[in-house]
């Protein structure tokens, strides 16, 4: 095996191996566990950096192993997979730091970090999967190794949340399996390719292909929480904050959204999808989700629940961008893969820190919290403004491309959806900011925890939200940087549209 064709596998293994080793570690071996975690996270980043460099020089990275007769196990790096890899790797690193701080002194940490690493390995696998079968394997693996994280607390409520999660995702997985098998049956051993892989068989199979597409959407719609398949997400909020953060920003929800992107662009091809007429239903479904998610968010007092419904709404921006036929909409959707991740993880880090430091879990308890935890709340504020789409945050750039993309796709009404969504986002985020910054504190905090030190909270709980908060601004402020995210996403879109 050469370097070029082992690198994708190595990227998966850099978290898989530490994860498995961690299972066998005693609870008390904090040092070894932390070293393993951090080593894996940093090694992964280095490998991805190497791969980006190679891709810019037109090197092909592909791990291909024979798997089933005619179907290989393929991990391949392309511009789109790199985007998801780098997002996951960076956010995994900060979330690991956060999780170490968050779970200090709590039980079952080996189990937690073991599955945590497996979870990221699966995400990497999903990102790099070169064909449907490989994608399916990692997608199901992700479902399974996330479950122990969701039920980590182990109480009745957690178990109930976990059960709901499993039922939803396993049914979604079933739908995916069906779609994959059907696809292989009519198209043969195809692999993901820029611009689509099924051009040759479209004629004569339009009906089945349309059904298959909707099966895919239904399957991915569970994880990416498209209404009415979103029911598990708010209930999975019983998970510890770092899990919710990772779940919402990178792993589960994002995997679903990534699946929609992958299948639409690299399996069907955007032209074929447009030709089949499946994009308009997707556009309507995602628009509905955007509105319904936001409306439901308004009624939540629990911080994490409100954030969960906000995720329901925001993740659909990605699929909406996919559904808007035209390069601008695609840019908006694919960029939001990254933007939503960075902004939402900031919000969840903040929510977790409020809980760990002050015992604050409800919005009604947040009065005056800005004075007690200014840096955390500042990061939270950036995330919230980003969700509304206020410039110069990353959220504005997304909205810009989705808006111009809507016109390009001749669907002007989508601008109305974006506007309504911004209004609703403002409706449920600004009151939080108002309470936090402008209202005086109401009595004692529910359960204040003194971490000592000179910061408002333990540094491991403070650094991650500040870092991602800063990123949320930089991604918007320097959007047009010659080597930035926008450049990379343009590369992806140019290839998908074969321009």
């Amino acid at each position: 095996m050469t370097w070029e064709n082992s690198l994708p596998l190595l990227i998966v293994l850099t978290s898989l191996v530490p994860g498995v080793v961690i299972f066998f570690l005693k609870e008390s071996t904090v040092g070894v566990r932390t070293t393993l975690n951090m080593f894996g996270a940093v090694a992964k980043l280095v490998l991805i950096a190497v791969m980006i460099n190679g891709l810019l020089n037109e090197t092909t990275y592909e791990t291909r192993l024979p798997f089933l007769p005619g179907i290989d196990f393929v991990l391949r790096a392309d511009t789109l997979s790199i985007l998801f890899c780098i997002l996951s790797a960076v956010l995994w690193l900060v979330t690991t730091i956060y999780a170490i701080g968050y779970l200090e002194h709590s039980p079952n940490r080996s189990r937690f970090f073991g599955f945590f690493s497996l979870c990221v390995s699966s995400t990497m696998g999903i990102a790099l999967a070169g064909n449907l079968m490989t994608f399916l394997i990692f997608y199901e693996l992700l479902t399974i190794c996330t479950y122990p994280l969701v039920v980590h607390k182990g109480d009745e409520k957690a178990l109930r949340g976990g059960r709901t999660y499993l039922i939803y995702t396993l049914v979604g997985g079933g739908a995916l399996l069906l779609a994959v098998i059907w696809m292989y049956a009519i198209a043969g051993p195809i692999e993901f390719r820029d611009g689509g892989a099924i051009d040759a068989i479209v004629e004569g199979a339009r009906g089945p292909l349309t059904v298959i597409y909707f099966l895919f959407i239904a399957a991915f719609g569970v994880k990416s929480a498209i209404v009415p398949l979103h029911g598990w997400l708010p209930r999975a909020m019983v998970a510890p904050a770092p899990v919710s953060a990772l779940l919402h920003a990178v792993a589960v929800v994002k995997a679903g959204a990534f699946g929609i992107v992958r299948v639409t662009y690299d399996l069907f091809g955007i032209d074929v999808a447009n030709d089949l007429g499946v994009l308009t239903p997707l556009m309507i479904a995602t628009s509905l989700t955007i509105i319904v998610g936001s409306v439901l968010a308004i009624f939540q007092d629990d911080i994490k629940k409100r954030l969960a419904y906000s995720t329901v709404s925001q993740v659909s921006y990605i699929a909406l961008g996919v559904a808007l036929f035209g390069p601008l909409g695609s840019i908006g959707g694919i960029m939001h893969l990254v933007h939503q991740g960075v902004m939402k993880i900031t919000l969840f880090f903040g929510a977790g820190s409020f809980d760990e430091t002050l015992g604050v879990t409800k919005i009604s308890q947040m009065d005056g919290i800005g004075r007690r935890m200014p840096l955390t709340m500042a990061a939270f504020t950036v995330g919230a403004l980003g969700m509304i789409g206020v410039p110069p945050t990353a959220g504005f750039i997304t909205k810009w491309f989705l808006g111009t993309g809507a016109i390009e796709a001749n669907s002007h009404w989508v601008i109305g959806v974006l506007i309504l969504s911004s209004l609703l986002n403002a409706g449920y985020f600004l009151p939080i900011l108002y309470r936090a910054w402008f209202k005086p504190q109401k009595g004692d905090w529910p359960s204040e925890h003194d971490f000592g030190g000179r910061f408002e909270t333990f540094w491991m709980l403070l650094l991650p939200p500040v870092v991602t908060g800063v990123f949320s601004i930089l991604l918007g402020l320097f959007a047009n940087l010659p080597v930035g995210l926008l450049y990379w996403v343009r590369l992806i879109v140019l290839r998908e549209y074969e321009l």
Binding site: G154, V295, L385, W400, G403, I419, G476
Partner: protein, 563 residues
């Protein structure tokens, strides 16, 4: 690094950085942070028109253009922010929260300066948002419940304005293929984006029916903040119209013109019975923005070609900024004796347009523009504009009366406060004589019957005010609550919210019923099995993990072997 680049960059960056430093160290206070406005003032005086900057990496490719409009707007904006900021440092000297105040004051300043310089829609939008959000903190600064109420109304309208602006700029960008104002200026845009843009900036500028936040918010802020809100920030709406609306054409021009006249009357009518001098001034700002709208309307009517209209707009904006700033700062000295009321006569009469004041020059410039309008518009506008000046006089009389009769016993004010106010008064008195653009206007304002045309509305207004002060004693004031139409809007808003609530409650009831029905279904065996798996995974995760590992490795091994 040229001088232009440095000055123009510092114009927005210095206040922003100072603001961020101040917010990081809220407990300490940067005494003369308002000096952050100095680069802006220097830029307005020194940087030649036509300079342009390109920060291509920022946002969607940011450009700055320093044209005549930008230079003139920056001139009065920077001057007013500088004076008000220094004034605030003294005025709030005993305020425990002045650190926070100045942090947001500086950020709003950065936003206001930045949007004036912006040459593209995305950066304008960004600076506009910065200014709008930062000024919330200025409005609610006193922490009183009225301030928070005003802040809430303000925030709702800010958000509505933001999303309208977003919709408008996306539509414009898609239609013109550009975000640059230089390109947009020559384009004819669709009615929908034009309407969105007009309404969005109309909220900031206080156009009638979109103005309801203004009489609440401008007075709620501490005096120096009111001065910049009502003097400088309100004009962001005007420059917004001029930048975004492209070549809007005569129809839009006349629409804006008509709405301007209406706004001028409406502001005066609603303001004249108010009991708080700052509320009177806020309504006066609405009324004065009506005059500026007449200029903007005329400018669009002539296809943006009429430089005289452009000059009239900026002269009026400059005149109003300085005069309104002086009037607001004057509120701080209310009850300090007759000399204050006498000094306030200068900006008050300037606003009414007395000959030899800045107001006369601005109004003359405006009048020469409207007179030249086609289709008899000029003569049709003549009387309404004079009558609106009667309204201005009444407002000013009301304001002076309230200041004069202010009962509050006053402590001594530091000399620096007096000095700054005096400086601003001097600027009001002299601005029209030192600006080359205004010199011609001054001559024009003294031609023919113009002095009389400017004076009779003031005499009439003063007479009416004298009568009103005798007759109006029995009336319960104010006749109209500040915010006037707001109560109607609130009614609609409440009805809307109730409707949404009802729908959501109904849906969630239905969902709960469905879930209850489902949970009664017989799934006990499945649940038991799941429970066992759950227990096993939790208690014996090492086994589970190993198994997972074994499966993974097995699959890998198999694939390797079968090669």
């Amino acid at each position: 690094m040229t001088v232009e680049f440095t000055l123009l960059t510092l114009t927005w960056a210095l206040p922003l950085v100072l603001g961020l430093i101040q917010i990081a160290y809220r407990k300490q206070f940067i005494p003369f942070g308002a000096l952050g406005a100095v680069p802006g003032l220097l830029a307005a005086l020194l940087v030649p028109e036509g300079s342009a900057l390109d920060y291509s990496s920022l946002l969607l490719g940011t450009i700055f253009q320093f044209d005549f409009t930008a230079r003139m707007f920056l001139l009065f904006t920077a001057l007013l922010w500088l004076v008000a900021g220094l004034f605030a440092a003294v005025y709030l000297r005993q305020d425990g929260r002045r650190g926070r105040f100045f942090a947001f004051f500086l950020m709003a300043m950065a936003g206001n300066f930045g949007l004036i310089l912006s040459g593209d829609m995305a950066s304008f939008y960004t600076f506009f948002a910065l200014m709008s959000f930062a000024s919330y903190a200025l409005i609610v600064h006193t922490g009183q419940s009225e301030a928070f109420y005003a802040g809430r109304i303000y925030m709702v309208l800010v958000i509505v304005g933001e999303v309208l602006l977003f919709g408008g700029l996306v539509l414009i960008a898609a239609a013109t293929g550009s975000t640059s104002f230089a390109v947009i200026a020559t384009q004819t845009l669709d009615p929908l984006p034009l309407l969105m843009i007009f309404a969005s900036f109309g909220i900031k500028a206080g156009v009638v029916a979109l103005h309801t936040w203004l009489p609440l918010a401008h007075p709620a802020a501490p005096i120096p903040a009111s001065a910049v809100l009502s003097g400088a920030m309100i004009k962001a709406g005007v420059i917004g119209w001029m930048r975004f609306m492209g070549d809007a054409g005569p129809d839009w021009g006349q629409f804006i013109l008509a709405l301007g006249v209406l706004t001028a009357f409406f502001g005066a009518l609603m303001g004249v019975s108010q009991v708080n001098p700052k509320t009177v001034l806020a309504y006066s700002s609405i009324s004065q923005m009506g005059f500026i709208m007449v200029g903007v309307g005329a400018w669009f009517t002539t296809g943006r070609a009429d430089d005289a209209a452009l000059i009239a707009i900026v002269l009026y904006a400059l005149h109003h900024a300085l005069a309104k700033g002086a009037l607001f700062l004057g509120v701080a000295f209310a009850g300090s004796g007759r000399i204050v009321t006498a000094a306030l006569l200068l900006p008050a009469l300037a606003l009414a347009g007395l000959p030899f004041t800045s107001g006369a020059v601005a109004k003359a410039a405006l009048k020469s523009v409207t007179d030249a309008l086609p289709n008899g518009l000029g003569s049709a506008l003549s009387l309404p504009l004079s009558l609106a000046a009667v309204g201005t006089t009444l407002l000013m009389a009301r304001y002076l009366w309230l200041i004069y009769h202010n009962p509050a016993a006053q402590k001594k004010h530091p000399p620096l406060m007096w000095g700054l106010w005096a400086a601003l008064l001097a600027a009001v008195a002299l601005s029209m004589f030192v600006l080359p653009e205004a010199a011609k206007g001054l001559e024009k304002s003294l031609e023919g019957d113009k002095p009389w045309a400017a004076t009779w509305p003031i005499l009439l207004g003063a007479g009416l005010a004298a009568v009103a002060s005798r007759v109006g004693g029995q009336l319960k004031l104010p006749l109209v609550k500040p915010g006037d139409m707001l109560s109607v809007y609130n009614l609609f808003a409440r009805a809307g919210v109730a409707l949404v609530l009802a729908v959501v409650r109904g849906l969630s009831d239905a969902q709960n019923a469905a879930l209850r029905a489902l949970s009664h279904a017989d799934v006990a065996p499945l649940r038991a099995a799941l429970g066992r798996v759950e227990f096993w995974v939790r208690s014996d995760y090492v086994v589970a993990g190993s198994l997972l590992l074994a499966i993974t490795l097995g699959v890998l091994l198999m694939t390797l072997l079968t090669r």
